[in-house]
Amino acid sequence: MIEIENLVKRFGHLTAVDNISFTVGSGEVLGFLGPNGAGKSTTMKMVTGFLAPTSGSIKVCSFPVVGDAREAKEKIGYLPEGAPCYGEMTPYQFLQFIADVRNLKGEQRKQRIETVIEQLHLQKVIYRPIDTLSKGFKRRVGLSQAILHDPQVLVLDEPTDGLDPNQKFEVRQLIKSMSKDKIVVISTHILEEVDAVCSRAIIIANGKIVADETPKELLSRSPTGRMDDVFRDITSAENLS
């Protein structure tokens, strides 16, 4: 369970996240939508404990995300925006490092590393420095790091950005297959993705939640039945007001 209450984040005069509250339960795949600069990434950075909120509270699996937030961080797997990885390391070394930090040991460690390498098809590049890999591979290395410890909560900031259509499909299948007993929060620009993987969609504009419903309900708002139109209607109406 992720519980967010009255979350506010200000950078100087700019209010990036303006008093938002929502909860996400187990088994839900929450799609986080919104125009660039709407506050999606900032919210995710606060949920994962990277940025401290200006005010409000966040709980992940009933552990508060404040200060060190070690217990909460142990429950979360996080793919930051742009899937940053240590470029001089190979995916193999990188996963060993993450396994160390996540305190995976013995048979379980070996098995988890093998599983994510297989799930994200990293076999071919496992001993090549991450710097030399294509964008698609880098993204998948980032994803493998996030799911390595089989976390209860997965926070993925634009997980399919830079992947080709086949890879997108596979990553979506992967997210779906993992979502049964987990909480997954993904942010995306790709609206078809919401329909494809999410059980719930939150649209955020100017730091506020402007819609919170199932993808189906969202689609039924528009006479054309196209997600793009719904998105434009909701977010531009908000921008004008």
Partner: protein, 246 residues
């Protein structure tokens, strides 16, 4: 603080030094320069004395330019590549990350320093030096390297640009060196009270290092370097906390 986590960060950081040619280039340059300075500018042979005074005498100046080259990437690179977001959302604390990274850089500097041992063999071959003094001087040099590194690590956290981190670190380290120089102290001596002059002088790396490099272990000199490192690492953590969102 969990030492296990410090160890994990330390190991990753140290490996990353050796994953690129940077480490080897650094070590070679350090060894070549320290030898060249000792033999040519330090008149190692002409002095006719079996000690390493010229060798250790050049360390503050070598470190001034070489240590910021080790420290500049510590945090600037994490911030530039975005891996800082990954690092600080893992279940480790800020302090563990700061200390783990610092220790890796310090050990790296220590390895470079250790590899100067042929000069120690040379001086023992040529004469009969006081090895206790030499050992103390090595400890002093290592402590001073730690001081430079802690400053460099903190400065590295203020920017995403490694070149800026390098230059600013050199300038600040230079100030810490210079404050022990008699020229600088004379300037203050003219008008400032003695206590101020003493305070400025006591902040200097040189003041504390010189005693150690002559084989005098004064616990105050050791405390100075340890406190200095502690202070700058604390500042390092504060700076990251402030700047990580940018």
């Amino acid at each position: 603080m969990n030492m296990r986590n410090v160890g994990i960060i330390f190991k990753r950081e140290l490996e990353s030094y050796f994953a690129t040619p940077v480490a080897y280039v650094f070590i070679v340059i350090f060894l070549v320069l320290s030898a060249a300075l000792t033999f040519h500018m330090g008149n190692f042979y002409e002095r006719g004395q079996a000690d390493l005074v010229p060798f250790f005498g050049f360390h503050p100046w070598l470190y001034l330019f070489l240590i910021p080259a080790i420290s500049m990437r510590l945090w600037a690179e994490e911030r530039k590549s975005g891996t800082i977001e990954l690092l600080l959302t893992l279940p480790i604390t800020m302090l563990e990350a700061v200390i783990g990274k610092f220790l890796a850089a310090w050990l790296f500097a220590g390895i470079a320093l250790f590899l100067t041992f042929p000069i120690w063999i040379t001086v023992n071959y040529l004469g009969d030096p006081d090895n206790g003094v030499i050992f103390t001087a090595y400890i002093g040099s290592l402590l001073m390297a730690g001081g430079f590194l802690a400053i460099g690590a903190c400065i590295s956290a203020t920017t995403k640009n490694q070149v800026i981190a390098f230059i600013v670190s050199v300038v600040i380290c230079f100030a810490f060196l210079l404050s022990g120089f008699s020229i600088v102290l004379d300037f203050f001596r003219g008008w400032a009270p003695q206590s101020v002059v003493d305070a400025i002088s006591s902040l200097s790396f040189l003041t504390h290092y010189t005693a150690l490099s002559k084989g005098v272990i004064d616990i105050r000199d050791v405390i100075y370097f340890v406190t200095l490192i502690g202070f700058w690492l604390y500042a390092n953590a504060v700076v990251i906390e402030m700047k990580k969102g940018n």
